[in-house]
């Protein structure tokens, strides 16, 4: 540090006023000028202080528990002299007489101690209850939390540690209000990924994910090792993220990986072993009940029984043990799909096929430390995750390596390198070979319990089971290699210029080897539920991403004025290539490759690229850390737009007022320790549109789905309509908030209210009549507003050195509304101005018809005939008919808005208690309000749909609670006060399943995501076994769920399975797991 001194003295005298910065130098103590002659010395041995000092002080630093604190900064007040404590908390420093020592350490209150006449100064640092001095990572830098004017939530890496979940998405869920992390169509499958969102819907068409940066660079978040995360900052408003311009229209998640600390060499090892068992897997009713209900639904439709009397007798016999076979031996099952209709077994297929308890493990080891010159952090991680298929394993493994090394080469030059490498390996059964393994989840819940598992000769007949066992493997490997090279140059104190070059190469390889899946039938013949013949598909893709940035900043504090000015340039480019080959006619399934295939081969590729460029700047100013101002802007260009519309300018400004810093606050300071109000306003661009959406291109397909003269030739399609003047969506956010600390900072409250308006949002030019024959091109003509808030209440207290606890509760909300949208006719089925996002339009139910000829409105809009057990709707507009008018705002018949599917009031509660070596923590996560109307293809809800094939009947559901007449004689008996109307296995059933109030579900839930109990060995004991620290813990995931949804629903997965939420088919999804785990944290 001090090395710099001679240099800027010289600057002052020689460069004179040429530099703006020079004005500030006069503030520096003139005493340092005498050091000029020391010149540049490569040694860091404090020669300078030694010349001036005359007392050597030593001592130790401990925390309240009497444990040594290594790495505490010990400095001399008013100078730059200092050192850090060693592993035993000891320090040694030569200081001028009468100096005041300042002991500071993150998480502890800073202590000033005059040395007086002492030569030994031992101190105890108190843990800091206030977090105002916390430093938070923000865009291109760090900032004291106290002086923040934007909406930034900081999460410590500790909060996500020691949980069995393997990826950041699962761990960050619920970590910050309005940081919404939802699962994709793969649900809880090993290696599945999540989608991230901040503050809800940002755009009706373009992707509204936040920018996720790890150490400043966009990465694939699924390849990040959570154990190496130091901190996560969630930048929610425009002022915090404006510096990223069009890269971050919907907020930023900044993840910082761990760095080594000077003077602290440690080796840390953490592990976690867990047992996973699936939750929310449906369970079939018994076969006899199933057959009875199915036959009734067919009878209701005027059709003959699905299951004949003879078959029902067999089912009955099988269930009571008098009929030993799973099917009629005289009419053995002779068709691969017929078992579900003609069998007479009684299997609970979902539970049988998705009932595996799997063993998972995680390991992480790191080495970190540093000298005054260099610090380093090296880590390696391994996760091994297994799935829940009972008869076929699915598995995901990931290896992570990380190296962060910083080295101060000269006193003005700091060189940084970071290398991250992740290797992900996934291995799944191909499953239903013609369509994909996700379909198995649908078959599992719809193949009837009557389907035999075994043939009479003992071989397996169930095609579902055979898919898991023998459909071939779908293997995926990804190699994510990432290097950051950077340097900070600090020619003058406070003026730091950073360069960084970042390169990311992601190589993926997917190899699928679908096979014929032979199923032995009851007749002894074999059927194939797999591919007609083995084939092999091998695809490779590579993503090359380069980010180069240069940022220069100057920071200065003078007479209570603080100023930080930053300017930078950044460019990024991504280039993607992929090639895929498929081949048939494998010589042997043992060696699947393109080379060993004799049959048809087909090769395709895909290439694309994009780039952005931008310059940006930011000014932070505050006076006495009381009046806070910040302004930032970015001028950004993107290759995704036509040259004329390529560049955009995105400014933002924010201000804060630290009222509690004022004199008049003294009177209530004991109660309200700190209080800051802040506000921000700014706009950002959204470039998340198609890569070449302004260009008209011919679509070319590789293989026609038709054999033309013995070939499947290529084919071409016309371009869609485009509008070449497409440009940014602009997102303007107003954010108002406050931060307050009460009762000695034990209670902290943070509140933010925002209004985020998306203008120039892509919308259709207009809805056009059908002769156009293509979807209308998009234009920047729609508008959306999204309003909401976040509130965080945190309480932490230390009752005694041995006992402390904390509780944090947070809640967030967002409501999006369409302000502008081209919908001249105001059709309600698309967006229209004033539409609340998520709105459900439906009819109002009016109970069920119980008596033939009962008075009811004309419902012939849905079906001609109505009778007992059918739904009555309310004729809201009193025209005597129930209908939907012309489905426009001005004429919507009896439809009204009956609910809203947007999740509202996302909240989470965390709490932990520490007593002596024990710690207990828990983490609850929930959604406060959400409506859900199950689509009429969702058998998990409705049970019997409009045909037998896709229906199902489940325990813990309403599926059997359907209307049956008072005189019903079947085993299910009468049920006139039913939840569901009469089922029909025909299109008639749709008349009772119009979207309506009766079946709107409350999808709110609260879930105990994690509960953890740990014990840390006392340090004396740990030391005896040569450990710095040792902790053992047990942890449980998804232990409790509170919801009013039917028992067949998991509030997370089932809703994620709805195509409206980007799922694949409603109710058909890989389940989540309940996890019990135990682990160990050891620091050597």
């Amino acid at each position: 540090m001090k090395k710099r001194l001679p240099f800027y003295c010289r600057v002052k005298t020689q460069c004179g006023v040429g530099l703006l910065a020079a004005a500030f130098f006069s503030a520096h103590p003139i005493a340092y000028t005498s050091a000029a002659k020391a010149g540049f010395d490569s040694s860091f041995e404090l020669p300078l202080y030694q010349q001036m000092a005359n007392i050597t002080i030593s001592g130790t630093v401990q925390d309240g528990n009497g444990e040594a604190l290594p790495g505490v900064t010990v400095s001399v007040k008013g100078t730059n002299m200092g050192t850090a404590t060693d592993l035993d908390g000891g320090y040694r420093l030569t200081v001028p007489e009468g100096a005041i020592l300042v002991f500071s350490f993150i998480g502890f209150e800073t202590l000033e101690m005059p040395i007086g006449g002492n030569k030994v100064v031992d101190v105890v640092l108190r843990e800091d209850m206030a977090s105002l001095d916390e430093v938070v990572v923000v865009g291109y830098g760090t900032q004291k939390k106290m002086t923040l004017t934007g909406s930034v939530d900081a999460i410590s890496g500790d909060e996500i540690r020691n949980r069995p979940a393997v990826n950041m998405g699962d761990l960050m869920k619920g970590a910050s209000p309005n940081l919404n992390i939802t699962m994709g169509m793969r649900g809880g499958e090993p290696g599945s990924t999540s989608s991230w969102n901040i503050r809800g819907l940002g755009s009706i068409n373009a992707n509204a994910s936040p920018l996720i940066l790890v150490d400043g660079v966009e990465v694939n978040i699924n390849n990040v090792d959570p154990e190496s995360v130091e901190s996560v900052s969630v930048l929610k408003d425009a002022s915090a993220s404006a510096i990223y311009g069009s890269r971050a229209p919907f907020g930023v998640v900044l993840i910082t990986t761990k760095k080594g600390q000077q003077g602290k060499v440690s080796v840390e090892y953490n592990n976690n072993f867990s047992m996973n068992s699936p939750i929310g897997v449906a369970s079939f009713v018994d076969a006899l009940t199933w057959a009875t209900a199915y036959n009734q639904a067919n009878a209701n439709a005027g059709l003959t029984p699905v299951y004949s009397d003879e078959q029902v007798e067999r089912i009955r016999g099988f269930m009571n043990g008098t009929f030993p076979y799973e099917y009629d031996p005289d009419n053995p099952i002779d068709n691969i799909w017929a078992g579900r209709r003609n069998g007479n077994a009684n299997y609970d297929w979902p539970q049988i096929l998705i009932g595996n308890t799997s063993f998972n493990q995680k390991h992480h080891i790191n080495l970190s430390g540093g000298t005054e010159r260099t610090n380093y952090y090296l880590s390696g991680g391994f996760v091994d995750q297994n799935g829940v298929y009972k008869y076929g394993n699915d598995n995901y493994r990931r290896f992570n390596f990380l190296s962060n090394v910083n080295s101060r080469v000269t006193d003005w030059l700091n060189v940084k390198t970071g290398i991250k490498y992740a290797k992900g390996l996934a291995d799944y059964p191909v499953g239903q070979t013609t369509v994909g393994r996700e379909h198995m989840m649908g078959e599992v819940i719809t193949f009837a319990p009557m389907m035999p598992m075994y043939n009479i000769n003992g071989t397996i007949q169930s095609p579902l089971l055979r898919w898991q066992q023998d459909s071939g493997r779908d293997k995926f490997e990804t190699n994510d290699f990432f290097v950051n090279l950077g340097a900070d140059v600090e020619p003058l104190k406070g003026w730091v210029t950073s360069f960084s070059f970042n390169h990311n190469i992601i190589n993926s390889r997917r190899m699928i080897h679908p096979k014929p899946v032979m199923v032995e039938l009851g007749t002894g013949q074999f059927g194939n539920v797999g591919k007609p013949e083995s084939s092999f598909e091998s695809s490779y893709n590579q993503t090359n991403y380069t980010l180069i940035n240069m940022v220069t900043s100057y920071e200065k504090t003078m007479n209570n004025h603080f100023l930080n000015v930053l300017a930078g340039y950044e460019q990024e480019a991504r280039h993607y290539t992929s090639m895929s080959a498929t081949a048939t006619g494998l010589i042997t399934d043992e060696v699947p490759s393109i080379s060993t295939a004799l049959g048809e081969k087909n090769v395709t590729d895909a290439l694309n690229h994009w780039a952005t460029q931008g310059v940006f700047g930011r000014v932070n100013y505050n006076y006495k850390e009381k009046y806070l101002f910040e302004a930032s802007a970015r001028y950004n260009g993107s290759s995704r737009f036509a040259p004329d519309n390529r560049w955009g300018f995105f400014p933002s400004a924010s201000a804060g007022y630290f009222i509690s810093g004022e004199e008049f606050w003294r009177s209530i300071e004991t109660v309200v320790n700190s209080f800051k109000i802040r506000g921000s306003y700014g706009s950002l661009g959204n470039q998340n549109v198609g890569l070449y959406s302004y260009l008209a291109t011919m679509g070319v397909g590789a293989e026609l789905n038709w054999i033309l003269d013995g070939q499947r030739p290529q084919f071409a399609s016309p371009p869609g309509l485009i509008s070449s003047d497409l440009t940014w969506e602009t997102i303007t956010t107003t954010n108002i908030g406050f931060d307050a600390g009460f009762l000695n900072e034990r209670l902290q409250v943070t509140f933010d209210w925002y209004n985020r308006v998306t203008t120039d949002m892509l919308g259709p030019t207009q809805q056009l009549p059908y002769p156009l024959g293509v979807s209308t091109p998009q234009m920047n003509n729609a508008e959306l507003s999204n309003k909401g808030f976040e509130l965080v209440l945190a309480w932490r207290d230390r009752i005694s050195p041995d006992f402390s606890y904390d509780v944090k509760a947070s809640i967030g909300d967002s409501r999006a509304k369409i302000l502008k949208y081209y919908n001249e006719k105001e059709l309600i089925d698309t967006w229209y101005p004033g539409k609340m996002v998520g709105e459900i339009w439906g009819y109002t139910s009016d109970g069920m018809i119980q008596v033939e000829g009962e008075e009811m409105p004309d419902q012939s809009r849905f079906f001609a005939t109505w009778g007992p057990g059918d739904i009555k709707y309310v004729d809201l507009n009193g025209d005597g008919k129930v209908n939907d008018g012309s489905r426009t705002l001005s004429d919507h018949g009896d439809l009204t808005v009956i609910g809203n599917t947007s999740p509202r009031f996302n909240y989470n509660i965390t709490g932990s208690v520490r007593w002596k070596g024990f710690d207990v923590s828990m983490f609850w996560q929930g959604i406060g309000k959400r409506d859900y109307f199950p689509p009429n293809t969702m058998q998990l809800f409705w049970g019997m749909l409009n045909a037998t094939g896709s229906s199902g009947l489940y325990k813990n559901s309403f599926t059997l609670d359907y209307w049956r007449p008072a005189g019903e004689t079947n085993m299910l008996g009468p049920n006139t006060d039913a939840y569901f109307a009469k089922p029909y296995f025909s299109a008639e059933t749709n008349k009772n399943r119009q979207v309506q109030t009766r079946f709107v579900q409350n999808a709110a839930y609260l879930r105990l995501k994690n509960l953890q109990i740990g014990y840390t060995l006392p340090s004396q004991l740990a030391t005896k076994i040569s450990l710095q620290r040792a902790r053992v813990y047990v942890s449980g995931e998804n232990l409790l769920t509170f919801t009013s949804l039917p028992g067949t629903f998991d509030p997370e997965t089932t809703l994620a399975s709805d195509p409206a939420n980007n799922g694949y088919q409603p109710g058909r999804i890989y389940p989540l797991s309940r996890v019990f785990s135990a682990g160990l944290n050891i620091t050597f």
Partner: protein, 572 residues
Amino acid sequence: MKRLPIYISLLVFVGIAACNEDFLDRYPLDAISDVNYFTTPDDLETYMNSFYSTTYFSKYPNHGADFNSDNQVGTNVDTRLQGTRVINTSGSIGFGWIRRVNYFFDNYKKVEENYALEDYQQYLGEAYFFRALSYYTMLQDYGDIQWITHELKTDSPELYNPRDSRDLVATNIIAALDSAAMYLTAEKTKGQGRVNKWMALLIQSRVALYEGTWQKYHANTPFGVANPQPEKYLEKAADAALELIQSGVYDIYSTGNPESDYYDLFALQDYSNNSEIMFWREYNNELSRGNSNFTNDRNHRMEFPNDNSITKALADAYLCIDGRPIAVSPLFKGHESLMDEKDNRDPRFYQNIATHDRVWRIHKDGTREYWKAVYDKLNTNAAHNSPGGYINIKGYNPDMNYHVQQYEESPGIIYRYAEALLNYAEAKAELGTITQEDIDISIKKLRDRVGMPNFDLGNIVQDPNWDFPDLSPVINEIRRERRVELATEGFRWDDIARWAAADELIVGRRPKGFNASQLAINPFPVDENGFLDPFQNAMPNGYGFDLDRDYLNSIPITEIVLNPNLTQNPGW
């Protein structure tokens, strides 16, 4: 040296200034700009390839394609026949393929610069052909529809055109097919490649007959046209069919075995050199690699009726071997059992409907099973259900080598020559100009194949059960011939629609099956005469087909809102 850091820092700004101007110019790397396309015949060919799809050529169905008519009966009641369709609210009308073909017409002329017409006329012909097919579907579904011949943009005034009259649309379709026939190759081809001139003529006779009879029989109804000119269309239908017939390129498939030729035609495994099959779809697992678009397992599925059957109405339409209808032929043995019914009937009866003595399965070891085994177990389980009793076997090959679940390679027939003969005879009959010579070049060919006596214009036997007693005997018999020859191939609904025959054939009726007393187990209702009556409970009053509405589909409500010039179809 000591100023080095400053210099380095200042370089930042130099770096920015030196930015590459082109850095943000990123054009597609794997797609072609439309400007560069359509310049070679290969471009045109590749473009037209995409039209070969199930959109135009539906898969030859398992169990038949007449479930939407009075020929077949399945598990569920057809909603159109039942009259329970509801108005389409939020849907649209798919003009995507029309745009696709119009895009071709707007752009293909770029090729003229370097190539002569003969280099690319095939593809131009295909474009006309597919334009016609696209519009024919629209004509059948909606009647009046906008005739658009170039790619529309968002500001094209044509978007708000009112619907063009079906007469104009039909005229234009026929003209497009004239162009197609002019440009397309006249080569017979193997039939599983590109379309040819003869297929264009076949479709032209089909469309012209459709519109000609529609205009004739819907005249003075809400579905009729202002100044009907059925003769114009019927003449075109006859001319096109006659040109095809006289070309001699195709002929009725016959090996001299009237007992089996008709049946065999639909069960062959290759049509490359077949005289009758004009166009067919090939299935090949090596090329398809299990792609679900190529899934075919017709033979496998047809092993059991699986809730599918033929109606008594169709079964009763078959003449007796003496050329007389069952009501008057002394050869008819009654309805007591299927074997009785089958005796002395037009051989197409048992070549379309499974009978007890017919081979059901030939196993790989050569052992044979007979359909009796299936009839004996009818209704014992879902696979054996047959609501009407009569099991369809058209398109079924008993050889178990071809029964591969999901991955059968049996080809699918798309166009066959027999239709042209029937189109010709019907058009001539409707024109009132039919002669015995016309019969002899058309219907006689079909009857000869199965050993039936020729259709003698001078000696038509009165049938007390004619479906259309108000129409002439010749039209009744030609319609019967068409029903029998093309049974379960997907023509029947179109025929009912164009003949405006729902009042005679559908309204108030229920599909019936064979005599229920031949069944050991019968879960289905039975009518007062002992015949299967599967929808007795589902629709006690019979089909509720609305004669003033159900011949056409509704125009989606939202489309009428979008285009105020659009009118709704009758009755909706």
